[in-house]
């Protein structure tokens, strides 16, 4: 597994050892381990357990918790807190995620580190609030208007959601970008064993007194980020701005440079950011690409089919955005087919079709239930 960059090592907040947590609870512990200083949220199934645990745990370490009046104010206050110097986050599910989208674009253009946890349920609209889904893959990427890039991570276990929450903060701070933890209801509500290590590796925001907070020498660089109250006289705006924050709303060159850097600082660094796991790729004819809870059913199915002598392989995407385009292109060139089981109507499958030269077969299940291993064995069996 790739090691993400860090510049500080701290003791974990929880004593090292084994814990039995739900995914939602593990998010809170991961946030504490990452030294998150501000959480704002609003109750929504199936992410409410995060809010409730934050309300208890954050005050124990002196971090700030606010239950806001809606998800719009939740993300906006988190962005305000981030500029005041705290690592900041919010968590929600489908309807709340939709409400947050304007704030996501604001965080992107102002290059504000913020972590947004989305415990996905079955949509659209109110949909099935207590049931599982994975419908926000494309919304996470394109939900706010305009051109910008984000990072989105997809955990498959309670243990992983804990460490991925820490990674989400590290990536947000390193790249000054909104980072999504795109979990699904099954991972959020599942309880299982989680191992907490003694130390936690963190990436702390880079500060450089007097440096331009919105521009770099390199076209794809990440500028240092000062905070309010440090005497830097910051000019932060959601309008197109130059490297010092002055509004340049009619300057085509400045707009092109800004939007290009917002794009390039993520896309040009994607090999650094992207993580995935692969299984049985060496001799596989058909490869299954999966993510989130579906990875568990997929791995069970692949192991079972391997025992039956079927040449199937599997790739589990841990990073959804930026997309692992090079890896998919390379794999797609040497296998017969790629099979994509997911709890939506083919949102990742469609992305794979952009890069894979082989057949891409989508299995999109949107019945509010997890995809069972038996379903995958049956569906994958048909395309072998």
């Amino acid at each position: 597994m790739k090691e993400q960059p860090y510049n500080r090592v701290e003791k974990s907040v929880l004593p090292a050892g084994s814990y039995y947590f739900s995914g939602d609870e593990a998010v809170v512990e991961g946030a504490l381990a990452a030294r998150c200083g501000y959480y704002a949220g609003y109750p929504i199934t199936p992410a409410t357990e995060i809010l409730e645990r934050v309300s208890i745990r954050f005050k124990e370490v002196g971090a700030v918790f606010m239950q806001m009046e809606d998800e719009i104010s939740s993300i906006c206050s988190a962005i305000g807190a981030s500029w005041a110097g705290a690592k900041a986050m919010t968590a929600t599910s489908g309807p709340g995620f939709s409400l947050m989208m304007e704030g996501v674009g604001y965080a992107a253009i102002t290059e504000t580190p913020v972590v947004i946890v989305d415990i996905q349920r079955a949509g659209p609209a109110t949909g099935q609030a207590t049931r599982v889904g994975s419908g926000e893959i494309m919304q996470a990427k394109w939900g706010s208007h305009g051109d910008y890039q984000v990072i989105a991570l997809s955990p498959w276990s309670v243990d992983e959601i804990y460490y991925m929450t820490i990674s989400a903060f590290n990536l947000a701070e390193k790249y000054r970008v909104p980072v999504f933890l795109l979990a699904d209801e099954a991972v959020g509500h599942m309880r299982e064993k989680m191992e907490v290590r003694e130390e936690v590796k963190l990436f702390e925001r880079i500060k450089k007194r007097g440096a331009a907070p919105f521009g770099t020498e390199e076209a794809s660089g990440v500028p240092p980020m000062p905070a309010f109250g440090e005497g830097e006289k910051l000019l932060v705006t959601g309008s197109t701005h130059d490297q010092y924050g002055f509004r340049k709303t009619e300057d085509s060159l400045v707009h092109e440079q800004l939007t290009s850097r917002l794009h390039n600082k993520i896309v040009n660094n994607r090999e650094e950011i992207i993580e995935y796991e692969d299984y049985y790729l060496e001799d596989a004819d058909v490869v299954m690409v999966c993510y989130g809870f579906t990875g568990r059913s997929s791995l069970f199915a692949v192991n079972s089919m391997r025992r039956d002598g079927k040449k199937v392989g599997m790739i589990r995407l841990k990073t959804i955005w930026p997309f692992a385009d090079r890896m998919i292109k390379e794999v797609g060139a040497r296998v017969k087919r790629i099979f994509v089981p997911e709890m939506n109507k083919g949102q990742v499958a469609g992305e794979i079709m952009k890069y894979a030269s082989c057949d891409v077969i989508s299995y999109g299940q949107t019945n509010g239930e997890i995809i069972y291993p038996s379903t995958i064995i049956e569906q994958l069996g048909r395309v072998l």
Partner: protein
């Protein structure tokens, strides 16, 4: 801008229309800060979207956060909560704080978050060309009420007072001394303080409502404003068309 206050500016000229009430308000906010001898580096200015949101950004040479339409109070809440040492001043317009951001305003007042909110009320959406707002008087002509506004204007001061604000006042830019004192007072108050400031917009609102000339619009506003004390004892007929100004709520020294 008064010469002695130019030291607080990031830019040499303002972006407002000649004759805009927001020029006066910019001046008075800085006058209050100057008279209180506050260190502007310990302050944070947060604004939403619209003409009034440009008062601090980019004009004030201080930490400024120019946010999304309607959400200034929410952004300010997050910043204040993680750095209570910041003196946070929200400056935005009536459409921004009252219409699209009304819910955030109510809840910040309810929570009594230690913010000062200055709401410049120009009775319409100036930046987008003069559409009706929650503060537009009945009968007024705007770009979207060409036969006259039919809905009652919202009393933002009563709104935040009912929601639990510590301090709520209403003044006009034609009352510079009273308004400056009110801003100074609000900046010293622990808790949520709110000042609605009538600031004429002749460019969009005035020209549709018999006040294309900014001087005449200022004069009319000045004549319309009376203090709460002056209003006492006047009959409803005498109060017709008057804007009653003053402090409507101050529980800053209130103890149970």
């Amino acid at each position: 801008m008064a010469r002695d206050l130019q030291k607080y500016l990031r830019v040499s000229s303002t972006l407002f229309c000649p004759g805009c009430g927001l020029r006066v308000l910019s001046n008075l906010v800085l006058r209050a800060i100057d008279e209180l001898e506050l260190n502007i580096d310990d302050m944070l200015f947060v604004s939403g979207i619209g003409c009034a949101a440009w008062i601090p950004s980019p004009h004030f040479n201080a930490d400024t956060l120019h946010t999304l339409h309607g959400r200034a109070v929410a952004f300010a809440t997050g910043a204040k909560m993680v750095n209570p040492k910041l003196k946070v001043l929200v400056i935005s317009g009536d459409g921004d704080l009252g219409d699209i951001g009304g819910n955030h305003l109510i809840h910040a007042a309810r929570r009594n978050i230690d913010l000062t909110v200055i709401c410049a009320n120009n009775q319409n959406y100036g930046m987008t060309g003069g559409q009706v707002a929650c503060t537009t008087p009945i009968g007024a002509l705007t770009a979207t009420t060409t036969e006259g506004n039919v809905y009652r204007p919202m009393d933002l001061v009563r709104l935040v007072q009912a929601a639990g604000a510590t301090y709520a006042a209403k003044y006009s830019v034609t009352q510079p001394l009273l308004l400056t004192e009110s801003i100074k007072k609000s900046l010293g108050i622990q808790g949520f303080s709110f000042i609605e400031v009538w600031a004429p917009c002749h460019t969009q609102f005035g020209r549709r409502n018999q006040f294309a000339n900014p001087a005449e619009m200022f004069k009319d506003l000045k004549n319309s404003c009376i203090t709460r004390e002056e209003a006492e004892g006047l009959s409803p007929e005498e109060l017709e068309g008057r804007i009653i100004t003053g402090e409507f709520c101050d529980v800053s020294n209130y103890t149970d």
